[in-house]
């Protein structure tokens, strides 16, 4: 009880002393303020962008193994304009995957993707989009359950028994081809083909996938049943781009293998790796020209997590340095204060203050300073975290930020700890002054 009264009195005394030298106190804790604010804001921005990246990867499904067709290098550099490039994954490959992996893989999603000029049948409007031949499973793998803006996604009935010429379109495609109209039941034609597809569904706006080598935008996609794609459009797609004109024959652009996710994390992890190895071995044997690639989101996740850990260590290091600098500032000013107030220390000692009382007094003065510095630093840091993304959004930049409660607690408690650590020596020095000498001090 006596101790608490003492602490309370000492704190109010410390605050009064600091208030007496407002500018000096502010300058001496500026280091702490900047350090704390930097820790909070850097952590928030770092975590924000990392979370974005991790979300991107998770969206691809951590139990998926994604096999894609890649144009082999010798054909990419081919000079022959009219050559039909024939490469990539085939239906046979897909069939083999299903057979050899049936115990490990719960489902597969074959896809055929090619760029195309899309236009409404009744209009001359034009949009350069993508045609994606796929199956109803697409909605599950790409988590589209809640992304349907109107109508529905593809269903089994669109594939069997007879492929229907229906399509589901992305939000941007819908807005470009049918401005101000309801796209449902409108028809879309693919340039160079004589088939039209009836719109049965429209998707909501989707975030582009930025985790791959190329940014994959989904909002200009037109999804049609894979079987319809094959039987109605043929296997050759023509590419008309600036400076190049060609044709490609690619049976499947991509196959997503969803690995059985039963069992614990490690088991799933090993199973994913195992599937990837089998796929790799199989494709190496059947595709002598390297026209395929394999992506394992799980690997990317682990890599991203390692990057995040490295970033955190770096940040802790920077935080440590800035708070060290702040602490030295505090120590410096406290040593000056002790010298300046030597006589006061002598008076207090003569009137009965123990060494521990003097230590407590100066230690609390330092801690009060760094605590206030910490509070101000947290506030400055938080306002940066809210302000910077806002300002950036005015210039159409996206700055992701994620505040962690523990980063606030950490920054704040480190600030307080700095006060204790760097206030200790000056406080002990004050306490160990000889009272007689101190009283004589001018």
């Amino acid at each position: 009880m006596i101790f608490l009264t003492k602490i309370r009195r000492t704190i109010s005394m410390a605050i009064r002393n600091l208030w007496l030298h407002k500018l000096r106190s502010f300058l001496s804790v500026l280091g702490i303020i900047i350090g704390t604010a930097a820790v909070i804001s850097l952590m928030a921005f770092g975590e924000g962008s990392m979370q974005d990246a991790l979300e991107d990867i998770k969206k691809q499904g951590l139990t998926n193994v994604i096999v894609t067709s890649v144009k082999p290098p010798e054909e990419a550099t081919s000079q022959r304009r009219s050559f039909v490039a024939n490469y990539g994954l085939t239906d046979d490959d897909h069939r083999r995957f299903v057979e050899t992996l049936k115990n490990l893989v719960t489902a597969t999603l074959p896809m055929r993707v090619f760029p195309a000029e899309l236009r409404p049948v009744t209009d001359s409007r034009l949009y350069n989009g993508r045609v994606v031949g796929t199956t109803p499973r697409h909605a599950i793998v790409y988590k589209l359950e809640n992304m349907i803006a109107a109508g529905r996604f593809l269903t089994e009935q669109d594939e069997e028994p007879i492929p229907r010429n229906v399509c589901v379109i992305g939000s941007e495609l819908a807005a470009e081809l049918f401005p101000g109209e309801d796209p449902i039941n409108k028809t879309i034609r693919i340039s160079g083909k004589d088939r039209a597809f009836v719109v049965v569904g429209v998707l909501k706006d989707r975030m582009p996938n930025t985790s791959g080598a190329e940014i994959e935008k989904y909002n200009g996609d037109m999804y049609i049943p894979l079987k319809a794609c094959r039987s109605l459009l043929g296997e050759i797609s023509f590419i008309r781009a600036t400076g190049a004109r060609g044709a490609e024959k690619v049976q499947l652009s991509q196959v997503v293998l969803t690995v059985d996710d039963s069992g614990d994390t490690d088991a799933v992890r090993d199973r994913v790796r195992g599937v990837a190895d089998i796929v790799r071995a199989q494709l190496s044997a059947t595709h002598p020209k390297k026209d395929w690639d394999i992506r394992i989101p799980l690997d990317r996740l682990e890599e991203a997590e390692r990057t995040r850990d490295r970033y955190r260590i770096l940040l802790a290091f920077i935080a440590g340095i800035s708070l060290l600098v702040g602490g030295i500032g505090i120590m410096n000013i406290m040593l000056a204060t002790v010298t300046e107030r030597t006589r006061e220390i002598g008076i207090r000692r003569a009137l009965g203050a123990k060494r521990s009382d003097i230590t407590l007094q100066f230690l609390l003065e330092a801690v009060v300073q760094t605590t206030l510095g910490g509070v101000i630093g947290v506030l400055v840091g938080l306002s940066m975290v809210f302000l910077v993304p806002y300002v950036a959004s005015q210039f159409n930049y996206r700055v992701p930020a994620a505040i962690h409660n523990w980063s606030i607690i950490l920054a704040f408690s480190v600030a307080v700890a700095v006060g204790v650590l760097f206030g200790w020596y000056p406080a002990r020095r004050a306490a160990c002054l000889d009272p007689i000498e101190a009283l004589r001090h001018e």
Binding site: G346, I347, A350, L351, G352, K354
Partner: protein, 242 residues
């Protein structure tokens, strides 16, 4: 009369730049309750050293010091702080008030270190301030007060813990003669009320207020005489006894 403080064969040696300075060379004195003692002597005679030892600000090299019934000559630093806090009141030449505190808060400081600060002790501080004539200036800071007023605050502060003994180190050294007389009158009043006062001075007319004059030279007691004190009413030089 009861003996309130007693030193036996007290010595104090300092080490100054490799040389031993013998500030006290065996001092034996006893002080009775209610006494008013003037410690006199030229500079270097050891009177300040003796006062520091009596005030428990320092420990003797050898010899014993009893304050009340306690032997304080071998106590630890913390114990000495405790003794200063409870049993000793200090009055300094340069007042030694804490600049950032008000009058009342300055008076309160010794109680702060006893850990007893509450509304009733605050009232006691205010009463003491009124007693020394500063009832109107409770919330003034030392810089807003004259030297005499500051010394009154210091006296009130020396009384707040109801000490066994009040130690005054040249209490009028920084004051003009009129203010000095006022301060000495105040000390006399306190002495008459039963307070024991030990005062260091080198001025005869200040020493004349005391009941007993101890003269020191070269770290020893040179003379120790009881005198007829001036009393509160007579403050003229004519009545000074040699």
């Amino acid at each position: 009369m009861r003996v309130i403080a007693r030193v036996e064969n007290l010595t104090k040696h300092y080490f100054l730049e490799g040389e031993v300075v013998k500030a006290l060379r065996g001092v034996t004195l006893s002080f009775e309750e209610g006494d008013f003692v003037a410690l006199m002597g030229p500079s270097g005679s050891g009177k300040s050293t003796l006062l520091n030892l009596l005030g428990c600000l320092d420990r003797p090299t050898s010899g014993r010091y009893f304050l009340g019934n306690q032997d304080v000559s071998t106590m630890s630093d913390d114990q000495l702080s405790e003794i200063r806090c409870r049993y000793i009141g200090f009055i300094f030449q340069s007042y030694n008030l804490i600049q950032q505190y008000t009058v009342v808060e300055n008076i309160e400081v010794p109680l702060l270190y006893q850990g007893r600060v509450d509304a009733s002790t605050r009232r006691r501080c205010i009463r003491l301030a009124e007693m020394v004539g500063l009832g109107e200036r409770l919330n003034h800071r030392p810089t807003q007060l004259s030297g005499g007023q500051q010394q009154r605050v210091a006296i009130a502060r020396a009384l707040v813990n109801d000490p066994h003994v009040i130690l005054a180190d040249e209490p009028t050294g920084n004051l003009d003669s009129k203010t000095s007389d006022e301060i000495m009158e105040l000390l006399c009043t306190l002495n008459e009320a039963g307070k024991t006062i030990i005062m260091v001075t080198h001025e005869n007319d200040i020493a004349a207020w005391a009941k007993r004059v101890v003269r020191m030279r070269d770290g020893k007691v040179e003379s120790d005489v009881r005198t007829a004190p001036l009393g509160i009413s007579g403050s003229s030089l004519a009545s000074v006894t040699p």
